[in-house]
Symmetry: C2
Subunit: 401 residues, 2 copies
């Protein structure tokens, strides 16, 4: 009991994120693992998830300038970078800070406990052989990590030749990222079926998406307006949010760009500055986001515990367990409603009943844990007291920088 009671000794906590890590490990994680939150909702977090730097992922058709964009931001190539008009980048490359300049293979990086990429092992060996970590020393990389990706292809054939779950990988990265940049160029506007699936896979992370209309200097003003309009027309339908996604129009490239007409002078520069400002703002936003996600996760863990404990309680002590389990699974909607009423919870906070049912079928409800009020009370206190305390004690280190 003792270990849930004391707050983490104050001297060990050096920042908001460090505090969150302690609160999670000592107070939230026990609740999660007791009720198998990791099997039903999302994997348990590790130290490396808290230590990870904010990530920016670049997505787009081949040759839209993703690798060039990273080169432009860093003003240098990352180890293993390839740039060219044909499909060049053939793997997922994480570009991060490191003492030595080197390129680490995916199989190695995925098993390193101090790296936040353990979760990628589930995509199998054929993915890991197309995954790489490129390390270099760079002041920017001390604050942000980039993820370069292989171009999304349009041909069905090329897609089926991919030996791993491309959309799944994108989804995994999107959930870990702070920003997802979708790159288009005026000559590669069409949203292929695979690209559409990729964008759909970003659902739930809409607020992280920014669009870059790159190589804008290659067309004149009137054409650019057409191109930009067509892009918004189709993006609006694919993303299907009322809020308009932010599009940055420009040409992110080292070479001096010569716009077709005067417009570039007025527009591109401003837009490029806006995007850089947005990138610089990531660390600050990332800290806010971590707090926000922590709170959401803790709430979800409590609800999950209530559901599991409720199901367990309905099981008979002796006979008819199989039948009882079947009935519970069939009436899961009703059981959810009972939990909701009993604990005065919001229906919208509950997990998707279909996904939950699918997972549940692989388990024996009888083997679940009973309700342990103490575990829940501890997480309740984290939300009501520990987090506010933490925010009072530390400021977002990036505020007013």
């Amino acid at each position: 009991q003792k270990k849930f009671k004391d707050p983490p000794p104050p001297m060990h906590v050096t920042s908001i994120v460090d505090g969150l890590k302690h609160l999670y490990m000592e107070r939230v994680r026990p609740l999660e693992s007791t009720y198998r939150f990791q099997d039903f909702v999302t994997p348990l977090l590790t130290d490396s998830d808290f230590n990870a730097k904010p990530m920016v992922m670049l997505l787009g058709q081949y040759s839209t300038g993703k690798t060039t964009f990273i080169h432009h931001i860093l003003q240098r190539d990352y180890p293993g970078a390839h740039i060219g008009p044909e499909p060049t980048t053939d793997r997922f490359v994480v570009i991060m800070h490191g003492q030595d300049e080197r390129s680490v293979p995916g199989n190695t990086i995925a098993v390193q406990a101090d790296m936040p990429f353990n979760g990628l092992t589930k995509f199998g060996g054929s993915f890991l052989s197309k995954f790489e970590c490129s390390q270099l020393t760079h002041p920017l990389l001390e604050h942000v990590t980039f993820v370069d990706t292989p171009g999304v292809l349009s041909g069905e054939k090329q897609r089926t030749q991919r030996s791993y779950d491309f959309t799944g990988v994108i989804q995994w990265f999107a959930s870990k990222c702070d920003l997802v940049l979708l790159l288009f160029d005026p000559h590669k506007l069409d949203i292929s079926d695979e690209f559409k699936r990729v964008i759909m896979a970003l659902k739930g992370h809409d607020d992280k998406i920014r669009v870059v209309l790159n190589k804008a200097h290659q067309v004149d003003t009137q054409q650019l307006m057409r191109v930009y309009g067509a892009l918004m027309w189709s993006l609006g339908k694919v993303l299907n949010t009322p809020e308009v996604v932010r599009v940055y129009i420009g040409s992110f490239h080292d070479r001096e760009i010569t716009p077709k007409d005067e417009m570039g002078k007025f527009l591109f520069e401003k837009e490029q500055n806006d995007l850089l400002a947005d990138l610089k703002d990531i660390p600050r936003k990332s800290c806010d986001r971590k707090i926000n996600e922590f709170v959401k996760r803790a709430r979800a863990a409590i609800i999950h515990a209530y559901i599991i404990a409720h199901l367990k309680k309905q099981m008979p002590a002796m006979l008819g367990k199989a039948k009882a389990q079947e009935k519970l699974i069939d009436n899961l909607e009703e059981e959810f409603a009972k939990v909701q009423r009993e604990h005065h919870l919001a229906a919208g906070d509950f997990p998707n009943v279909h996904i939950f049912r699918d997972t549940l079928e692989g388990y024996s409800i009888d083997k679940f844990e009973k309700l342990k009020p103490r575990l829940i009370q501890v997480v309740d206190e984290v939300l009501s007291k520990d987090i506010p305390d933490l925010l009072r004690k530390f400021r977002n280190p990036y505020d007013n920088l």
Copy 2:
């Protein structure tokens, strides 16, 4: 029989449109009226429908510059025009060519047989009192007629205070028009519920829609891109076609415009010229469209005749008529399928079965006409012979003008 056999005497036909008029009156209309095409599908055409000049309708929120746009195109006010920052135009105004300059009230114009507005009487007296015809001499009006409309309002209250079917009127005009210009301005971008209903009512006339982003000089380039992007974002979802609607960005106003920055110089002028070219092209396109619609209509009339005659044929000679009618109406989908198979027609050419059913319920099927193959054969010949003959004899008078 005789009157359906001879082609219209060649000396009476002076143009493609004139030829269409004769073909319709003498050969298609008899088929339509025999099987009550006008009650089920669309009113019979009159001479005035063929004589009418191409029409351009302007639609948009209040104060987006619709009346100013017409003023700018004509370089003068039309009789009865009002321009101002508050909602000014409170009625539908048809601006057309006329010997005397005057403003004719809606009630008068709607009953004139030589005017194509008879159909508007169905919207009732309270609409007609908000309808007006403004006549003046102007070289442009010899080729095109404009329709100015009251601004679409956003408040639900104001909408319900309209005493006539606004959307219905818009729909009526849209079906008669050659071009529908949707005006937006940077400060009036939102698509209110009423505006959405109005745009929905344009369904089926997507190819006539053009969008004008007016008063573009009021914002700077970067803002304009945002505004334009947001417009495309929401329009794409409302119109929901894969083809992107053409948007003209500019400021249609007599006063010399001073763009916020240099961009206007490059963009607005080109865009304004494009729009004017599009307007000038209307008469030529209108002739092509009339041929196209004539052919579509004649086909629809034949299918309609087959359906009605088929239903009639299923009726018993003596007893049980009410019951037979009920059964036919209930199984209308099946009856449509039978007609389709019997005459080798395309399912997509058939009318909407729900609307057809609703209309049919008001009729006694028994009173319909039997199949008259001769009537259908005549229209078949119009399609296979008379129209091609007509197109060989006359060129589109506006081609290569």
